[in-house]
Every structure is written in structure tokens, then in C-alpha cells.
Subunit: 280 residues, 2 copies
């Protein structure tokens, strides 16, 4: 019997819990989101994040900036948010317009407000095994989801496909810290199928529809699909769900798997940053 | 025919090259090394580093501190070195005495003088794919050695055994950046032999004598031994050299493989930091 890893259900539980904790707070946690340009997917993501934040009872602040915003102007706004005592968490929605240096922007966020652990300073702490302020949302959400179903990580062979700074790289580091044996695959990997067939857990964050097909998956493997692809207007992950499903022991759906967990972790991280900033 | 990856030969070439470049400099690069306590191996390492630096024509400064040095005192000395304009590179010899918080000490080193890329700030840049000032010595030395023998990394399955902050973790990141498919194994890995047998390149940095035996190695694999173990007073690596040798296409000896490369990279990094600090 294959079990669906229900990210929506767990995310709702986490959100509900945050809502209760927030209701008793006099000053509410505040999440600021900067979005540059009018990428339609980004606009939807930001709207969903804002909506979720407000449902919980957080304050939210969205700063939309034009596609041709200067880097200088973008940085200035980050500096202002860094200084605003009531803003606990800052998120810069990616991707940024091409003329903006992503590194400069992300590094400008105050480390203690870097809600996605994107800055090299926080990512480096994580890599070196020191506690960053918060852990990156998507990898954290994936591990929380697996933990919620008591899926063991220690000593298991985990294949992570994709090496982005947002998912693949930090996820590999975090899984290794949980004593998994991690293989990090990517577009230059030659024998993905062989590696996949030797893996207990396959996590695909490649952004490539139908990358993980049934012949990649051994009986009883755990499948986590981080992909969000649009094929003929339909949202689909990296996994050929209908054919992989019967072979897997656990599998995430798209949508309803990792996506809601990412937003829930964003909210949890906002709350955690609020707590850190208000503990003294 | 198995080829020995001669780290000593390449290290000598790099050192000679640095010597020539240094001879024409009016102000010489300066490496400062802090050593706390009297760990015999550490004392030998530091002495070798100092000797090599002076052979090249660098200035060197060794700060020995007692085993019971306070963390405060250690940090103060780092702050002084950070401020000394003539010191280009700072190395804190590990391990530190148990009562010292390693994180605090390493993070205290000015990022632009962090000759081993140990601080989370520099390590994070490396993880995120941004250029840190210099790359960590041992991983850099390993990759340089492989490159010197034209051993391809892209698309190849590389097994890295060991997950220290000094070798395993940064090496995995750097190999991935070179488009290798990296599996990071460690003490909790269950089926090391199976993974090893599927690997084109095996790099062992576990510090465990006779960990990699002939039955772990497929014909034609490349073997890099980072281990330094003392067995019955004799220096030995992680690899059962005599039995693995006939199966390997390339193999590093211990000593004379990775060790000399690490010191050569320390010298090269000192030179690079000098150049960065003097470019304006």
C-alpha cells in the first residue's frame, strides 16, 4: 500500500498551531516580501504567502518594485527593512530581473532577518554544522514531512536531484547532518537511473517534468517531488506520478506535497525569527 | 599500469613557482599560525608549514599558546593579527583545546585573512557558488592533483568518505561545482562497499586505517587517500595501498600524496590573499 505524503494536511496543522501561538501575542510577527517585476508565477507565490501570513495573524508587508528597478534602489529598500524593528523576516522573491546581482541583494538582508537562510553567511553556518537563525524553507519542509511519517533517514541512501542554492544544495547538507548517505545528482550526472535504482529515497528538485519514471524506482522507495512544471497548462512535478505510485512506499503529490510545506516553513521561520528578536 | 599521483612532485613545482614570484616582491607575504597546546602532531605540522613558508621567502609568525589559554586571550590575539597590515593570512591549527569554542575562534578570523576558508562566511560563499577569497587547502590540493593528471571529474561518480568541515564537506561542494556526481559517505553509511564499487573515483578522508580494501575498488578506479593514521608507529592512510594499487588506474601514496599538496595550497593561498590585499 502506497502512502501519500500529505503536505497540505501537515502544513495546515503547523499553520493552525502558529495561529494559536500568535493570537496571544500583543505585537505580531511581521514578514516583509520584496518582489521585483511582474513574473506571473512569482506574483501568485507572493500573494499566497501574504494570504497565509494574514490567516495566521502575522503582519505582512509586500514591496512590489518595477521590472527595471535599479539594484541600488532595491538594496536601499532592504536596508530600510533591516532597520525596521517591527519587521522580523525579509524574503526577496526569486527570480530577480537579470540586471540585478542576486548575490548583492541576498547578502544585504540582515542575517537575523534572512527567513530563507539564503545568505552565504547563514548557509555557511548550516554547512559547518553551526545553528543558523533558521533553516531554509523547502529543505526544512521536506525533512519535516518525512519525519512526520517516521521515515528513517539515518544510514539510508538518499538521491537528491538538482543542485540549486534554494533546494538541492542545502537539502543535501541537511540530510547529511541527519546521517543519511546523500548522492547529489544534476544535469551532468551520467547514470541517473542506476543511482536512482540504488536509492531508498529519491528527492527530485530538477524542475523537469517526467524525469523520474517508474523504471528509475525500486520497489518500496520513498519519492519526494519538489518539481513545479507547467505542461500544457497543467501543473506537474518531476515524477511520473501515476506510474511511480504503485512502486513507491511513500510519495508526495504535486500539488499538495512539498509546496504547502514550503509556505508553512516560511511562516514557522517568521515566527522563530520573531522569537529570537524578542527573547532579550 | 597504475599511475602514482605524486603530490610531492607537484607540490614542489607549485612551491618553486611561488618562490620565484616572491623573490621579486619588496614586501613579502606573511602567514601567521596560532597553535594552542602541545599536541605533538600539531607541533610537527606547524613546524613544517613554517619551514615551507620560509623556504619560499614568505615571512612567518608562529604564536604558540599554552594548553590552558583562555578563549578570550586567544580571540584577542586573533583580533591583533586581523589588524596587523603585514599579516596576510591567519591559520589556527586544529584541534584546539577542549575548553575553547572552535566556532568563536574560527569566526573571529577576518574573512580576507582566512587562509583555509574555514569560517562559515567563506564556506557559505563557496556553498552558494560565489567566489570566496581562497578555497580550502586540502580539497583544493586534491582537485589540483587530479587536474594535473587530467583526470576527468565532470559526470563521474565520486565517493567522498568523511564529512569533516576541513575536508569532506567542502570537497563534496567543490567536486559538485566541477560537475561530478558526488556521494558523501560517513560512519553511518550502511553499504559503503556497494557504493564504492559503483564509484569512478574514491576519496577517503575518514581517518581510519584499512577502510578502503581491494574488494571495495573496481578495476580502473581512481583512489585518493587523505587519511593520516599511525598504526604501530607507522604512518598509513585509509587505503590498503598494496592490495588496492594493482586495481587502481591512479592512486595517491601516503605519505607523498595529499599531504604535500595541502601545504602547497596553504602557501598558494597565502600568496593569493597577499595579492588580494595589495591589489588596490
Amino acid at each position: 500500500m502506497t502512502v501519500i505524503l500529505d503536505g497540505r494536511l501537515l502544513a495546515d496543522k503547523i499553520t493552525q498551531n502558529l495561529k494559536e501561538k500568535t493570537s496571544s501575542l500583543k505585537i505580531k510577527p511581521k514578514l516583509a516580501v520584496i518582489i521585483a517585476g511582474d513574473n506571473p508565477a512569482s506574483l501568485i507565490y507572493v500573494k499566497n504567502k501574504q494570504k497565509r501570513a494574514e490567516e495566521i495573524g502575522f503582519e505582512s508587508l509586500v514591496l512590489p518594485m518595477p521590472q527595471d528597478v535599479s539594484e541600488e534602489n532595491l538594496l536601499e529598500n532592504i536596508y530600510i527593512l533591516n532597520e525596521m524593528k517591527e519587521v522580523n523576516a525579509i524574503l526577496v522573491q526569486l527570480p530577480l530581473p537579470n540586471h540585478i546581482n542576486k548575490f548583492n541583494v541576498i547578502e544585504a538582508i540582515a542575517p537575523e532577518k534572512d527567513v530563507d537562510c539564503f545568505s552565504s553567511r547563514n548557509a555557511g553556518k548550516m554547512l559547518c554544522g553551526y545553528q543558523p537563525y533558521v533553516l531554509p524553507c523547502t529543505p526544512k519542509g521536506i525533512i519535516r514531512l518525512l519525519d512526520n511519517y517516521n521515515i528513517e533517514l539515518e544510514g539510508r541512501n538518499v538521491l537528491v536531484i538538482g543542485r540549486s542554492n534554494i533546494v538541492g544544495k542545502p537539502l543535501s547538507v541537511m540530510l547529511q547532518a541527519r546521517n543519511a548517505t546523500v548522492t547529489a545528482a544534476h544535469s551532468k550526472t551520467r547514470n541517473l537511473k542506476d543511482i536512482a535504482l540504488n536509492s531508498d529515497i529519491i528527492i527530485s528538485a530538477a524542475g523537469c517534468a517526467n524525469l523520474v519514471t517508474a523504471d528509475f524506482v525500486r520497489e518500496g522507495a520513498v519519492i519526494v517531488d519538489v518539481g513545479i512544471n507547467r505542461v500544457n497548462g497543467k501543473l506537474t512535478g518531476d515524477v511520473d506520478f501515476s506510474n511511480v505510485y504503485p512502486k513507491a512506499s511513500y510519495i508526495t503529490p504535486v500539488p499538495g506535497g512539498v509546496g504547502p510545506m514550503t509556505i508553512a516553513m516560511l511562516m514557522e521561520n517568521t515566527f522563530e525569527l520573531y522569537q529570537i528578536q524578542n527573547q532579550n
